[in-house]
Subunit: 115 residues, 4 copies
């Protein structure tokens, strides 16, 4: 992760691009790259989405790289560690959705709490 | 990263939720979480987006965690290493946008090539 | 449509909110509302997505209203007529995807042209 | 609007594409098109976003057409009238954000209620 952050900082500095990388702009770019992943899946059935051919997988891998790049840049600007943020969120989710109760249910927290 | 993947696999297995986690569905969830980040920035100026207060930053940190969680789950289902995908993409971008030429320009590759 | 535009202009003017409604910000808000629609569908099978109950449909209807509101505001700021834009795009698509050739294929234009 | 709905129904029927147009898939396509609008604005300042040149505006107009197309198709599948949905939502917003109180504030409802 540190290697990625260092490379991204150098990449932006060498091109004088940091001026464009406000958190607002990076959030937009992140959502655009996420949508480029969605585009590969939008007309597939769920079964087909497990069976992409090598060319499609390579294209999706590029988009996954792009999402991680913008996520890392955004987090770096805000002083957030994305790995720690994910671990913290997993911890919260473990409490929010106790395994014994929600097992096999696709309901979200609010619905689960209402039922 | 490996710790996150292991925790996410256990989390889904213990809740019998893997059935909902097709690549198609995970791509959708990823884009929804990316939009939840955007929501925090949509009415801010770029200057304001650098100066979020602690409460807002904590909320954005949670959303960054969510994006990384779904990105990791999606990549895991597809057999993709997101770190390697990001490093590969940075390598491609270094060739695509040579620092000496694009310095200070916010143009995309296509526009840059056309000019 | 004209009624909607007039109401949206008055709504923003009466609240002094036009200052926040740059095309950039409205584009962000539009994508956030689109994601709120996606959120209702992300864990459903395609079959289930045809059979939402009345409460869910009412919630989706609200989000559809939001998307149309921001789309109309964005188009209004840019001097674009969204109805005409849709009709023009349908015309382009009719030429791009000739019915006799693409019948039953889910391929996009590029793939279709390559095959 | 009715003309657009009729054209979209014929367009899909003539190509045997209705099979791909589940509400779930249409919601995904809608969000992808919304992101294609965002892509045009992501590196612009707010001032620049008011001053797009003719080529850019034509490209954005196409994307606005696409968003309205998928929004209309999704609403049609769900039996929702998007115009009525927007008018209903404007009515709700007029009650939720009373002009005399929120004037000039960019706060969202929850924050406004908390203050």
């Amino acid at each position: 992760m540190k290697e990625i952050i260092d490379k991204l900082r150098s990449f932006a500095d060498e091109r004088d691009w940091a001026q464009f990388h406000s958190p607002k702009n990076l959030a937009m770019a992140l959502s655009v790259e996420a949508a480029e992943i969605v585009e590969h899946f939008q007309w597939l059935t769920q079964a087909q989405s497990y069976q992409m051919d090598a060319d499609k997988l390579a294209a999706v891998s590029d988009e996954i790289g792009d999402v991680l790049i913008y996520l890392t840049m955004l987090a770096d600007k805000l002083g957030i560690d994305p790995m720690q943020a994910a671990l913290d969120k997993i911890g919260k989710n473990q409490k929010k959705y106790p395994a014994g109760i929600v097992r096999g249910q696709a309901k979200k927290y609010r619905e689960y709490k209402e039922s």
